[in-house]
Symmetry: C2
Subunit: 215 residues, 2 copies
Amino acid sequence: MARPSRNVDKLLIEAGHELLAKTGVRGLSIRQLTEHAGVNLGMFHYHFKTKDAFVRALLEQKYNDMFVNLQMKSKDNASALENLRASINVLASFARDNRLLLVRLLADAAAGESVALDFLRTNMPRHLKLEISLIKQAQQDGALKPLPTPQALAFLVGAVGAPIMVGAAMSQSSLAPAPIRKQLEQFVFSDAAIAERVDMALLGMAAHKQTRGRK
Amino acid sequence: MARPSRNVDKLLIEAGHELLAKTGVRGLSIRQLTEHAGVNLGMFHYHFKTKDAFVRALLEQKYNDMFVNLQMKSKDNASALENLRASINVLASFARDNRLLLVRLLADAAAGESVALDFLRTNMPRHLKLEISLIKQAQQDGALKPLPTPQALAFLVGAVGAPIMVGAAMSQSSLAPAPIRKQLEQFVFSDAAIAERVDMALLGMAAHKQTRGRK
DNA sequence: TGTGTAATTATACGATTGTATAATTATTTA
DNA sequence: TAAATAATTATACAATCGTATAATTACACA
């Protein structure tokens, strides 16, 4: 190496993390990025060549940072239902902590952004695998009533996770005034609120002696 | 009027509805739009001036088309809980029927698109007002356990609605393979699946003699 | 039949985008 | 000290974007 690097690639990555959470993939402009990082425009192409490659690197790094701490270990001595409860709680707290990026990622994916779609396609199934098997196990145990897996998973994840995503989107888009945000923090984002939703969802999915008629 | 109109404005609106559901606000290009409508580029400015105005017109019209059929009438002789159950079912079926546009709208809003945000800010509260009051009423009746309103509403809407939105996004983005889509149709989108989720959610929120400890 | 006028066309402007590259700088090493 | 070379700069290109407008067309009506 002839000339020592000023590590502008790291500056770019850093700025990228800040901006991506605010603008999403499509809204992220390279010039805005380099300006924010205090770096020459040409350096972007020098290090990353294309925007897609950059965002990929960004997501990959964030993914590694985030998911290192997400080790889910089931206890063999506990029931499938209790393992599921614990697992969903961990997953939801994790989603809460990284809600800004997750909301962006989902929004980008919904908008058809291929980088975001690829990322989700590659990484999401891995993290839902455990939950799916626990749901099936708990159903076999008779602790949860037999539901089609897509329905069961969607219900559980929706009931617990959707409030987090919607809350995050509302907070960031100023769709909610300041006082509402405080309420969100306490009643939707807190560990207690998450645990409460998990309990309610599992209670709703529980096997009951008598199915309630609808309507 | 000197020269008879060929009604290109209606062609544009029609093409707009088709494209908006696929591309979102940001991804919608005027040239792509006029091309799709088989119309000269200049006609766009002639009729709508700006993209924002066009999208506003698009959403307004869609809104009128959609929400005409969404008349929610509570029955006085039924309990608040049963009124809530019926109301959520109607709302969810409605979301299911218009899921393509709704997903786009949410994604655009999450991306900070001001037209989408304005639309949601203006129209969403009106439709949730009834549900909020019914939740409070059912809680006073002792049918639902006392939860903070944001938590109760988010849980209910998330549990019932999130599966629809996620399913729609997955179907459209080819994030789900074809066989999975068939499953979605049956186990997530159907009236029966919706009703099942509503029942489960309300069951989870119900007042129970003894609160289950968590963990 | 000719005139007024609304609808339509072709074209252009300026801004912004992602990407690319030749020239210059600053350092290591021989 | 000179040569080699990685890092950095300034600048440019082609495409696309939303928006705008002068010129042309086609019809209603007097």
